[in-house]
Amino acid sequence: MQTSSSPQLCAVVPVDCVFNSSNQLPYPATFSLGLSAGNRKLKLSRLQAGGFWESIRSGLIKNNSTQVIEPSSSSQEDEEPLPQEFVLVENTLPDGTIEQIIFSSGAEVDVYAVQALCDKVGWPRRPLSKLAAALRNSYMVATLHSIKKSAGEELTEPNNEKKLIGMARATSDHAFNATIWDVLVDPSYQGQGLGKALIEKLIRALLQRDIGNISLFADSKVVEFYRNLGFEPDPEGIKGMFWYPRF
């Protein structure tokens, strides 16, 4: 994976990753990422274009354009789920193009793509800054991208479109409780078991960290979907209550 010589550095992805992160407008042009959490101390973070003071503050990031740091270094505390990326499904369409659906977690997510996906499924709009902050501070964000390539081309060609088609995120206290929010799959890709795969991966990652209380708040239409995945509504009388602001 190569980093450009301009002040903007790409996020670190595992070495088995085949794709470059595409040149989308990174929303966090006005935010400094990664270091505030304190956990990803060794990961390179996106710097804002011309972020001179940011680079000074970041310290060791300033000129390390040639250094690639493994995400699983031994000195780092193993608290967050390791980033993963793999091909979930590969289909060949009738016109010869091959479509791959890539599952990834722990990678940077394009906020604009998420907002567009929320619009597609018909969710009310939320402020972009809040959405970006929420994604950053979630314990785990799992995404599904679809990559189409025409027969004969390489997948790493930059003109292949990588489209966000599904997302799910979970917040957690890293020890006991986790809540799954914002599960969405592009309507044209629904019904294929992609949502189920997203949730199962999330649960798997959470259980592997011994996080036992996994909860979520489901709309009435999707209660059956989650029931099939092993979720029980109001188990043993446990209810979720919400705060009512009193004006």
């Binding site: 501070n137 917040t171 006991f176 708040f217 979720f231 109001d234």
Partner: protein
């Protein structure tokens, strides 16, 4: 209620005991709970802290044991009725990653004997300022959030001898205030039957959007993770 009058009979006059109420405008917003004027027992002098460093995980674990509160949703109940002890390191981890941590301290001598009956508390003891170090942990609450959109409240507990004095409500109000200061208004709390009345009295209610609360409870035989008394099945790796 104009239509009701016609049902009661066209010509008959409404009797004096029947009062005609004004037409009801139905709204979808649930009214806040009516506050009754109880005589609540007085709140003892306490020190509330929102500082994470004021909480000692070992004291917190002991508080959990005293309140019989479990961090697992489905706790293992030991034969004598208590829940199993919590791992202190996990507790420390959970505290570090909670967005809001509220702890309440009180004077140790007031915890053992209820405040109004304690007549003989020495005056010099009262002179010692109440701080997290000199006081004893009697109440706790925390919230986990993504810092901008949503938050969940967990583990609100008060020591049994000091319950029903408004401490729990104070903890909850402090948590809510800290969350709303950050702009988070979507605040959820998972609660069991016993805790439901407490949350209702503090202004929590069913979801406006009528969502269903669900928890992962699928058990299995192999590839399981234990969470309290549940053995949760780890979903197998497979392609859709």
């Amino acid at each position: 209620m104009a239509f009701l009058r016609s049902i009661h009979g066209g010509g008959s006059l409404p009797s004096k005991s029947q009062t005609l109420s004004p037409p009801k405008i139905s709204n979808n917003i649930q009214k806040p709970p009516i506050r009754h004027r109880h005589r609540r027992r007085p709140t003892p002098p306490i020190f509330i802290s929102t500082n994470l460093s004021d909480v000692n995980p070992i004291h917190l674990r002991d508080l959990c044991a005293t309140c019989n509160h479990s961090v697992h949703r489905f706790p293992n109940i030991l034969p004598d009725g208590r829940s199993e002890h919590v791992d202190v390191d996990k507790l420390r981890l959970a505290l570090r990653h909670s967005s809001v941590v509220v702890s309440v301290f009180s004077r140790p001598e007031l915890v053992a004997s209820p405040p109004e009956s304690a007549a003989g508390v020495d005056w010099y003891r009262r002179m010692i300022p109440l701080t997290p170090v000199t006081g004893q942990l009697v109440g706790f609450g925390r919230a986990v959030s993504d810092s901008s959109l949503t938050a969940s409240i967990y583990d609100v507990m008060v020591i049994p001898t000091l319950q029903r004095r408004g401490i729990g409500r104070m903890i909850l109000q402090r948590i809510i205030r800290l969350l709303t200061n950050k702009g988070i208004y979507d605040i959820a709390a998972l609660c069991s039957d016993q805790e439901m009345n407490f949350f209702k009295a503090c202004g929590f209610g069913d979801d406006i959007l009528e969502s269903t609360t669900m928890m992962y409870t699928r058990s299995g035989n192999d590839m399981v993770v234990s969470a309290g008394r549940k053995l949760l099945m780890v979903p197998p790796l497979r392609k859709p």
